[in-house]
């Protein structure tokens, strides 16, 4: 009996899900296109005796047979960054264009920030914000090691973030990869389920909705907002998205990143959500041999 039991009614092949949650994660890195392409990074790793396997859904994501990718020249040169496979999903869904102004609302330690900078071709602006001063050091150091010159780091409460001083009226794209109960990290954090449950999720859901509302408010009409968490809890996922949809001015958009996923829920625990929530995606550990993740893509319409 643990915090995952309550998901049995909504997760297909629940036994396989349980088994996957009990296994450790494969060792996966993201290639940093600012400094090298996947071909060169793979060559460098193989020259050091590390076997690599490219992932079909994303050229930049590769699996290694090394447990410590940090002890390679490819890492030293900032060609690769240790990043759980499914954590590469939300930036790929946001998919900003070179020259865009992008906000990463809860950015530390910077895996997604640097992926966004890479997708921009290091041209444009990524404002990487985090309210936790202690975690900013990791964010800054990752941005530096990966050579991301288009990143500006800020230390604000995302709910009250403003564009003062940046010389722009709105962002083109925003990633709200919010703090969550992290149930989906159970494969790397054995204590991920401590304190998890509907009550904890409802509580943090209020903070998540406030951050998502701010993300929408700071995005230009026609711009994109991606909301993501690494938890299975509908109270932090569909319920948060539903609350923000209800306020108007945004619509959910369908997306496909090339990984197997389940649709977002349209009902949970007696509560029903907007039909468009089926366009959101739930990534379960047994589907792609990853951690757990939730992702929703909005277009700002007004």
């Amino acid at each position: 009996m643990d915090a995952l039991d309550r998901y049995e009614p909504v997760i297909e092949e629940f036994d396989a899900f349980r088994e996957a949650c009990a296994r450790s994660l494969p060792s996966v890195v993201r290639v940093n296109g600012i400094k090298a392409d996947a071909e060169r990074a793979s060559d460098a790793l193989e020259a050091e005796g590390v076997r690599v396997r490219r992932r079909e859904w994303n050229d930049a994501v590769i699996e290694l047979d090394a447990r410590k990718p940090g002890n390679t020249w490819a890492y030293v040169h900032g060609w690769i960054h240790g990043q759980e496979e499914v954590s590469a999903v939300p930036a790929a869904v946001l998919d900003p264009e070179p020259g865009d102004a992008v906000w990463d609302a809860c950015a530390a330690p910077g895996s997604k920030t640097t992926q966004l900078a890479d997708l921009l071709g290091d041209e444009g602006l990524v404002v990487a914000n985090d309210d936790n001063l202690g975690r900013l050091a990791a964010l800054r150091s990752n941005a530096e090691r990966l050579g991301a010159t288009c990143v500006a780091v800020t230390n604000e409460d995302a709910r009250r973030f403003t564009l003062d001083g940046f010389g722009i009226d709105a962002f083109d794209a925003v990633l709200a990869d919010v703090p969550c109960t992290c149930e989906g990290t159970i494969r790397k954090n054995a204590d991920a389920l401590d304190g998890a449950g509907a009550e904890a999720s409802r509580k943090i859901g209020r903070l998540q909705a406030d951050i998502l509302r701010r993300a929408v408010a700071l995005t230009r009409p026609g711009g994109t907002v991606v909301y993501s968490t690494c938890t299975f809890a509908p109270e932090e996922n569909e319920a948060v998205v539903d609350a923000v949809l209800a306020a108007g001015g945004v619509e959910l958009r369908a997306f496909d990143v090339g990984l197997v996923a389940a649709e977002g829920l349209t009902e949970w625990a007696g509560e029903s959500f907007d039909d468009s929530l089926s366009k959101a995606k739930r990534f379960y550990p047994h589907q792609n041999d990853t951690g757990g993740f939730f992702c929703a893509k909005f277009e700002v319409t007004a």
């Binding site: 060169r40 030293v76 290091d122 602006l125 150091s141 010159t149 500006a152």
Partner: protein, 168 residues
């Protein structure tokens, strides 16, 4: 009276020395001169980048087009230290822009590159300039810059920051 360096804001370098209002702050032209004269990096390499100071003598490079005086924690990469008589590029700047260098680049054999990365000082054969060099090695078919070394009296001192040192 000369304006002072405001340590919590990023201030853009003036284009030329004559336009610089802050005592001791280099201009963009001088920074381009430095990379060109010291390392043979062509000025055009930096066409899409701007240079900023935050903290006396601490220069940053960014591709962000933002207004002057922005109060943020960081803006792009730390790039160049200009407080001392001899300017010193950062490890990350050399990794990001050092591929364009054609002068004062020392290519180290793999064993020496590992010692350099581990932070060790070592004797090297070098008949070029003394001072700061870009230390590079061959990786996946091309010469790649690892970091900055200080060459003096036949010895190459590793300037790799403590937190980035590694024993591969």
């Amino acid at each position: 009276m000369a304006a002072e360096n405001a340590s919590h804001r990023f201030e853009r370098l003036a284009p030329t020395p004559g336009e610089c209002e802050v005592a001791g702050r280099p201009s963009r032209a001088e920074v381009l001169d430095y990379w060109e004269e010291r390392f043979g990096v062509e000025r055009e390499v930096f066409d899409d980048f701007s240079f900023w100071e935050k903290g006396a003598g601490k220069l940053w490079v960014t591709a962000c087009d933002v207004p002057d005086g922005l109060a943020v924690e960081s803006l792009g990469l730390t790039f160049l230290r200009t407080r001392q008589e001899h300017w010193k590029p950062t490890t990350n700047a050399v990794q990001r822009f050092g591929r364009h260098a054609s002068r004062n680049v020392i290519e180290l054999p793999q064993a020496a590159a590992k010692r350099f990365l581990a932070g060790e000082d070592q004797p090297v054969e070098w008949d070029g300039d003394w001072g700061y060099l870009i230390c590079a090695h061959e990786l996946a078919g091309a010469v790649e810059p690892v970091g900055v070394g200080l060459y003096l009296h036949g010895e190459l001192r590793s300037m790799v920051p403590k937190g980035s040192r590694r024993d591969l």
